[in-house]
């Protein structure tokens, strides 16, 4: 639509160009990559970026976090939070793995359910996630307890369930048809792991869902002003259940991918993933107070986390230092981004 049409008698100084908000965070990503590149030549004598293997590992490492972060972003846009993602990953990994064992395993969890089609393991993992998410959503919608508390409860209980499921034992010897989902494929000489493809697919689907569907519009509306959303006829409770269910489903998917890649299910899988996912969303410009956020930003935020981990390993920085610096960089990235956005707003 032409700007002047609507402008009426406004003193319009020509239509303004709006840069998408991701541009500044993309700048941060590029900046970090360049710093590693330079440091690489100085300290290691090697290029950080010109290495297909490394680039592929960077995204592989974060693709599980990325899948979760896509769900968490939607939850945060509604002004909520999901602390249970990491535990749901663990539980879903256990359940999926238990249905994907080979009969070669004499101590299979379900000796009668071995050598099955991987479909069942995958569906079970997704189902567990969906169920956990629906419980989260229903608790929040029906009892009106804060999302922080509801999902904190789920975080503790789901982890407990994951341990109880096999009384703490790992679930090993998984069928190859299942572990196939954690494998890499060579696409035009570039090793592309399946989890990465799944991550990008999930990101594209929910980018479209948030931007172009009624589901997306209502998600933003609820985060921006719940009272106005209600008066506009939005069923807030029902919608929140959907959003948390989707977040749970994606955590379940992340759990399935984790089990497939590790070729086992372990009750400790996914510990603290929720924090990385929240960090990825927030670095990507999603506002914890709700109403603001985009999947593209989250994807960039996720990659930033991956580049940091990979870059430190490349530079042979000790693990303790890595964590310390990573924490600082997360906060710094958000500060820089907010500062720029404010400047643009005031201009």
């Amino acid at each position: 639509m032409s700007t002047n049409e609507i402008a009426g008698s406004a003193n319009v100084i020509g239509s303004k160009k709006r840069l998408p908000p991701e541009v500044s965070i993309l700048g941060v990503l590029i900046g970090i990559a360049i710093v590693f590149e330079i440091l690489g030549w100085i300290f290691v004598g090697d290029s950080f970026l010109a290495n297909k293997q490394r680039l592929s590992i960077i995204i592989l490492q974060v693709s599980v976090i990325g899948i979760i972060a896509v769900g968490v972003t939607q939850v945060i846009i509604t002004a909520g939070v999901d602390l249970s993602s990491g535990s749901v990953v663990g539980l879903a990994a256990m359940v999926a793995a238990s249905l994907a064992q080979t009969s070669a395993n004499p101590r299979a969890v379900y000796p009668s359910l071995t050598d099955m089609s991987p479909i069942w393991a995958i569906l079970a993992g997704l189902g567990v996630g969906l169920l956990a998410g629906m419980v989260n959503g229903s608790l929040i919608a029906r009892t009106k307890i804060p999302p922080f508390i509801a999902t904190l409860g789920m975080m503790v209980s789901a982890r407990g369930l994951a341990k109880w499921y096999t009384l703490g034992q790992p679930v090993a010897l998984l069928d190859e048809s299942f572990t196939w989902f954690g494998k890499s494929f060579n696409i035009m000489g570039f090793p592309l792991p399946l989890p990465v493809i799944v991550f990008l697919l999930v990101a594209v689907i929910f980018h479209i869902a948030l931007g172009y569907t009624r589901y997306g519009k209502f998600t933003y509306a609820i985060g921006a002003n719940p009272q106005a959303a209600r008066v506009s006829g939005i069923n807030i409770g029902g919608h929140l259940i959907k959003v948390y269910a989707i977040a749970g489903l994606l955590s379940g998917l992340a759990g399935v991918m984790t089990a497939a890649r590790a070729a086992s299910g372990q009750p400790g899988m996914g510990v603290a993933y929720e924090l990385d996912a929240i960090a990825a969303a927030v670095i990507g410009g999603t506002s914890l107070s709700g109403g603001v956020g985009r999947i593209t930003g989250t994807v960039i935020g996720t990659i930033i986390l991956g580049v940091l981990t990979s870059g430190f390993t490349f530079l042979k920085v000790g693990a303790y230092y890595q964590e310390i610096i990573k924490g600082i960089i997360i906060v710094a990235a958000v500060i820089i981004d907010q500062h720029r956005q404010n400047k643009r707003k005031k201009a």
Partner: protein, 512 residues
């Protein structure tokens, strides 16, 4: 009118005689991305006077006042307070220099009490540094007594009506004892009685030699309270006049720079069947036994004092606060309306009174704000929003309502108050309602756009829409309604037909 009396009582009012102004701003310029909000404007405020600012929605009045109150920094311009050049560093700095502002949108913290809101950041403390609630209460009582305000200092602000909150804002601003007091559309949510009350307060302040800047879209207030008046148009300064030397038409002409119809004459339209019938509606502690009918094509006005329960009745009909007792019939069928979603399914629309709390999605853009309600019922295919069609229709309706903005992708928070109101009206018109409930529909809207909105409401009625309209503005209620229902303390005290209705009769019923 009372000017002569005031001048005698307040020698400070003659400050202009020695050429000294309380406040002088010259050549102020302020640009926002895409818009020149103020283009080298000026303003001179005398001591002991009330200076009205007039102009269409988006003319730059609030922006200029935010600059004076230290909230925005101007791009250029000079600023003199009591004859001295100053540069404000922020709103706190402005307060310390004796400039206080009542904002167009309410800014109180709902979960806190009235007293806490008023003395925030200035809480009286006891010897050990704890907040002295007793003292705070005493100070509030004293302040309210002086201003003749009857509100419990310990009540939570969230439970107060918009009008009472406005009175709290006024008391808070007065409590700063500032020399310059800015009031940005303080009366847009007040009924006549509170407006009179406010004017008494303003006159007392004027007598103490304070300078008051007063923004309003209500022409009669200009002549009743203002000594001088400055007019702005499209970010430009037009002129300053003494209110005794101008007429209503002069002002409007300066404001819009073209001829406009000031008051839209309501069309007579055929009245059809009953579309909505409330029978014995009750909401415990708020209103009791409210019964009325609305017919297709009819505009039912609801009048009453602040706190009479007018808005509550509307909220209950729309399902925001479902009724405890009584029934609602829509098109002849009894319906249980338990949420706004249900009400909308039956073709209702509800423009709420408080645009900040229950209206705008401040973080979202104009397009999203316009389309949010209609997405329930249309423009969606397989879950996907038909953005193109929706965009076209939204622009069309925004133009009809004269929303002033460079771009539909502009965040609504950047719009002027009146323009936000227009977007909210557009939101509900887009849903093509069969029953339209309007709570203060023209709140904060300028004269020209007001006539346009009245014309639209009248046209909708002509198409068979049943309209319920709550308004604190007498001329609006009297001019637009086919019938007027008067409410007093949660009870319906009478109905007046268009022909017999008059301000006096309404006031009689409203105060019983």
């Amino acid at each position: 009118m009372q000017d002569t009396g005031t001048m005698e009582a307040a020698p400070a009012g003659g400050a202009a005689v020695d050429g000294g102004y309380l406040l002088e701003v010259e050549n102020v310029r302020k640009e926002f991305p895409g818009v020149v909000a103020l283009d080298n404007v000026q303003l001179r405020l005398k001591r002991g006077s009330v200076h009205a600012l007039m102009g269409e929605n988006g003319a730059g009045k609030s922006t200029l006042m935010k600059i004076v109150a230290g909230i925005y920094t101007p791009d250029s311009g000079s600023f003199k307070l009591r004859g001295e050049d100053i540069k404000l560093r922020g709103p706190l700095d402005a307060l310390e220099h004796g400039i206080a502002m009542i904002h167009q949108e309410l800014n109180l913290m709902a979960p806190m009490t009235v007293a806490e809101n008023i003395w925030i950041r200035r809480e009286p403390t006891s010897r050990f540094g704890f907040i002295d609630h007793g003292e705070m209460r005493r100070k509030t009582v004293a302040l309210f007594k002086r201003l003749n305000i009857d509100i419990d200092p310990d009540i939570q602000v969230g439970t107060l009506s918009v009008a009472s909150r406005q009175m709290v804002e006024i008391a808070k601003a007065v409590s700063y004892e500032s020399d310059v007091l800015i009031m940005d559309e303080p009366t847009s949510a007040l009924t006549e009685r509170e407006v009179d009350h406010l004017f008494t307060i303003i006159r007392a302040l004027r007598e103490q030699g304070k300078g008051i800047i007063y923004i309003t879209h209500k022409m009669n207030e200009l002549f009743e309270i203002a000594d001088e008046c400055s007019v702005f148009r499209d970010g430009k300064y037009i002129a300053t006049k003494a209110s005794t030397e101008v007429t209503r038409d002069d002002i409007i002409h300066m404001m819009v720079g073209r001829e406009i119809t000031q008051m839209f004459p309501k069309e007579e339209v055929p009245i059809g069947d009953v579309v909505l019938s409330a029978k014995g509606l009750t909401l415990k502690g708020v209103f009791t036994d409210v019964s009325f009918d609305v017919r297709a094509g009819e505009i039912l006005g609801i009048a009453g004092l602040v706190g009479s329960g007018r808005s509550n009745i509307a909220e209950t009909i729309f399902g925001v606060t479902p009724a405890d007792g009584g029934t609602i019939e829509l098109f002849g069928k009894t319906v249980r309306i338990d949420s706004p979603a249900t009400a909308m399914k039956h073709g209702m629309a509800f423009l709420t009174e408080d645009r900040k709390e229950t209206g705008c999605f401040l973080l979202l853009d104009i397009q999203e704000n316009t389309q949010m309600a209609v997405l329930q019922s249309g423009y969606v295919k397989n879950g996907f929003v038909q953005q193109k069609q929706l965009g076209t229709d939204s622009v069309e309706i925004s133009q009809a309502l004269r929303v002033k903005t460079p771009d539909m992708a502009e965040p609504i928070i950047n719009l002027s108050g009146g323009n936000q109101q227009k977007v909210l009206i557009a939101r509900w018109l887009l849903t093509r309602p069969k029953i339209l409930i309007l709570d203060e529909p023209t709140r904060g809207i300028d004269v020209g756009a007001k006539a346009e909105i009245h014309r639209l409401i009248s046209k909708l009625a002509g198409q068979g829409v049943g309209v319920i309209m709550i308004s604190s503005e007498m001329p609006e209620v009297l001019g637009m309604s086919d019938r007027i229902m008067v409410v007093h303390e949660g009870r319906v005290t009478g109905f007046l037909d268009r022909a017999e209705a008059s301000q006096v009769k309404i006031m009689e019923l409203a105060s019983h």
